[in-house]
Symmetry: C2
Subunit: 265 residues, 2 copies
């Protein structure tokens, strides 16, 4: 993880914070158009249209929620299926760890957003030894196979690791305690994860090394600067959607005949 | 229905179409703040926090999707639970008509959006005689009782009937046939519903007369002008959320002690 600079801003086309809102919002028309094409294809060809799955991972305060609000929030909510994965419920624990993940996959034509994901099963599960190493160590290959299956079935996968520094996390936790409108975001338990920072970084490194595949590479998003983080995810979303090169679906009816019917109706 | 002018713009504070985007977007900061307060209360008090249910009804082309995109789209998608009701599935038909409605209700702290709703069971069902009159005629009281129960449990209900004229519907259907990027929105079956316009208006009148209760009144939104419709629903959403007078949740931990913990962490 030390190879990645959380303060960087690669690819950013502007000056800095001062033009970041403008540059991010400037993506909205194209994002809207691309998302509507995807949705339209899902509606007219629900068994074959592509879809998109965005996976967001990161340490507490890295801004998964901020990205959903400011980047994903640029597209029509009707085309977005959000799923936040918490600690597994009793029912979820009685199934294989990928069961709840499969259940939450987006339909064709939709953009699915995973706030946390199957990667928790090799992150917190590894760090806290929630299952034996013999078990979690097999999961990297299983996750790769799972994602390969999704990709083969037409799902584009965009995996973003929001990379915030140890120092910046401390600032953000302190901010939550300085502002009564942010108390609800503060959880005393967050300091327990923070105390295991090196073990988490090791677990993230394993994820990046073992699960960056050709069909589903990881993108490490420098996230110490929120304005860069939000712009970068919006831009990646635009690139992935544009890469689908989606056309508007053709009419499944006789356009001229329907025009006449409408004229008479 | 003839008492309601679909071209009107009651309460609109601007000049017209030219300032409508600006006025609608100007609601975003307050809407965001109010929605986040609601969400925060849901997170800290999931058994008692209020929630909001927005019910959208209207004839084809009236703009339920447009309202979701342009009005509901102003708030954080993490706080919104969307549900579009289609023709009931086989499983849904094997239950009481309110079963699927209850299943889709928003959690506390959330804004639920129903794109169509239980009212289809006294609209299309009545117009097309999908169940006998002895059955649908009982549903007005049942729906009132259902909504009263929700309101008593803390749900604020905002019911919007998007009122488009017979002439404007024709224009919008024709537009869909003039623009290949809108073909996917056109369904030849829409003309069948259009041919039953008077029966639908009668059914809507019955809904407005019998199901406008004190806890869940109907709002008829003039919808011939999309810019007014979208602003009006956003403004109603703002009013309903503001009416909850939500405070930020108090800290459930010792703030001073946690500040010290963070400083040392």
């Amino acid at each position: 993880m030390s190879d990645f600079d959380p303060d960087a801003a690669p690819g950013y086309p502007g000056e800095g914070k001062e033009d970041a809102d403008e540059l991010r919002l400037a993506l909205e028309p194209e994002l809207s158009d691309l998302q509507e094409r995807l949705y339209a294809n899902g509606r007219t060809d629900p068994e074959n249209a592509p879809n998109l799955l965005v996976i967001l991972q990161g340490m507490d305060t890295s801004g998964k929620g901020g990205v959903i609000r400011h980047a994903i929030g640029l597209v029509d909510p009707q085309g977005v299926k959000l799923k936040a994965f918490k600690a597994p419920t009793k029912e979820e624990r009685s199934h294989d760890y990928l069961w709840r993940i499969r259940n939450a996959l987006p339909e064709r034509g939709m953009i699915g957003i995973f706030d946390r994901s199957q990667y928790e099963d090799v992150l917190v599960v590894r760090v806290d030894s929630l299952v034996p190493e013999t078990e979690w160590s097999k999961r990297y290959d299983e996750i790769n196979a799972f994602e390969a299956e999704l990709a083969a079935a037409g799902t584009t996968i965009l995996k973003c690791m929001l990379n915030v520094s140890f120092e910046e996390q401390k600032n953000r936790l302190a901010e939550r305690l300085d502002d009564p409108s942010k108390y609800w975001k503060y959880n005393p338990g967050d300091l327990d994860s923070r105390s295991k920072w090196p073990a988490y970084m090791e677990a993230y490194e394993a994820v990046l090394q073992r699960c960056s595949t050709e069909v589903a590479p990881w993108h490490v998003i420098p996230s110490n600067r929120k304005w860069y983080r939000d712009w970068a995810v919006a831009e990646l979303l635009r690139e992935k959607l544009a890469g689908l090169q989606l056309q508007w679906p053709e009419a499944e009816f006789d356009v001229a005949a329907e025009k006449e019917r409408v004229a008479r109706a």
